[in-house]
Symmetry: C2
Subunit: 289 residues, 2 copies
Amino acid sequence: MRTPIDLTHASIPSTIEITATNERGETVPVQISGEHPLTLYFDKKELLTLMTLGAQPEALVLGWLRNQRLVQSPDEIAAIHVDWETESVAVTSKQLKETGVSIWEKSDLSSKLDKKTTTSGCGQGTVFGDLMADLDKVQLSDAYGISQEVLYSVMDQVRKHESIYKQAGAVHGCALCSNSGLQRGEILLFVEDVGRHNAVDAIAGLMWLHDMPGEDKIFYTTGRLTSEMVIKCAQMGIPVLVSRSGLTQMGYEIAKQLNITMLGRCQGKHYLLYTGTHRFSQLPQTDFA
Amino acid sequence: MRTPIDLTHASIPSTIEITATNERGETVPVQISGEHPLTLYFDKKELLTLMTLGAQPEALVLGWLRNQRLVQSPDEIAAIHVDWETESVAVTSKQLKETGVSIWEKSDLSSKLDKKTTTSGCGQGTVFGDLMADLDKVQLSDAYGISQEVLYSVMDQVRKHESIYKQAGAVHGCALCSNSGLQRGEILLFVEDVGRHNAVDAIAGLMWLHDMPGEDKIFYTTGRLTSEMVIKCAQMGIPVLVSRSGLTQMGYEIAKQLNITMLGRCQGKHYLLYTGTHRFSQLPQTDFA
């Protein structure tokens, strides 16, 4: 059993109320989603400022470090302290805590910060390091197939679940759903944020905090299936990716290469299965592996 | 009259066709939007890789440099050459061309590259330099008001205009509309891209290429009104910002501070006027300033 990470729980309210004027000239109250800067310091080095709704700041930061591959395991992290007063989050490595030696003295980490790619995804467009380079090492599990029935269950649950979006709009939601056992087709984690890459990063952080593997999960996003979304999903080891939106060419090509089961345009009873068809079945689920 | 920028015209097809399987198990053709990496070199220095649809690559790059405030005027640029073979674009400054001295020898420019903010907007989340710092210098014109009639004209035209979105989805569109003279309420420029910040940057680039001022324009975006979208609009000197989507808290606060006339949730005959109400009138347009 590893030592738990020392975490703040600095979630802040997700919506604020403003007034606006509608087409009839009436003043109406409007709920809008929060958007807060959060500057990330890792072993005292300033890395970047994330703009976030602020619902899951600790998980967001942990998942960001994971998805940027600056950290290989949650065991490397001793503490994540969010302070909204200073709009900052301090992440401390176990190495620094235990030996006094900062993680930046590892030579390979600093070099990862040099290569920037601005991606077309929503939210955090900066990808540090060369994510694409290691993609051919990714092996996604074929142990858990998905049936049409389970897909419809996921779509249905997400529709009922979305909260801030319904209230205030202008956010993206991501859900991690079970694809095994009695909870199959149910939502395990649900995160909304102003950028959908924040939402996926927060899911990645929560998966680490709760020791959840990816192979028996389904990842749902309200956003588009761009390259970065597909890559992050693969990095989390999740073989099934579902969206109500469409996909881009590079998202498609990477999903094909990685053999991810990717479904888009999921609305009502409609969907399109793009890639990884071997995991999908139109027949009712018979196995409960 | 300034020397025109030496430009390639390297627009590439915006959609490709793939096949997918629908909910009835039928194989159907699907149009998806292109997404291509384009690595930007400015006076031979590699700055970043943009992911783009590729419809307006030269304008995108020029507008990106403008919106990141790495360039103060189009007069500083001698050439923009896009080469899809190498997935790169070479931007050459007039200074380098005429004197042989690279723009990076100006000391202030390199320091702007140091400060990164990852924003919540779609697309290019990286903002170099400290955009926010100079916001209080922005003065937006009050010379051109907007009537409900003109707003409806803009909404109607954009609805008819969107092409790639209708075909393939997964793109954001931005339109620059006239707010003066006989073309009032009409679309002057329309750009779609995989990230909405690419689309707004391409508009910024086209405005420079065609010497178009911002004060008598309306900016329309299909995307959400986040901080970065509002800031970029203000930087282009456009006082009216319209979206079919909602807004975030920071987008709202910056719009209020800058006195931008910002309208969201524009769908059908509905809209919400959030800020800058002094420019808006529900009465028919009487002036044609």
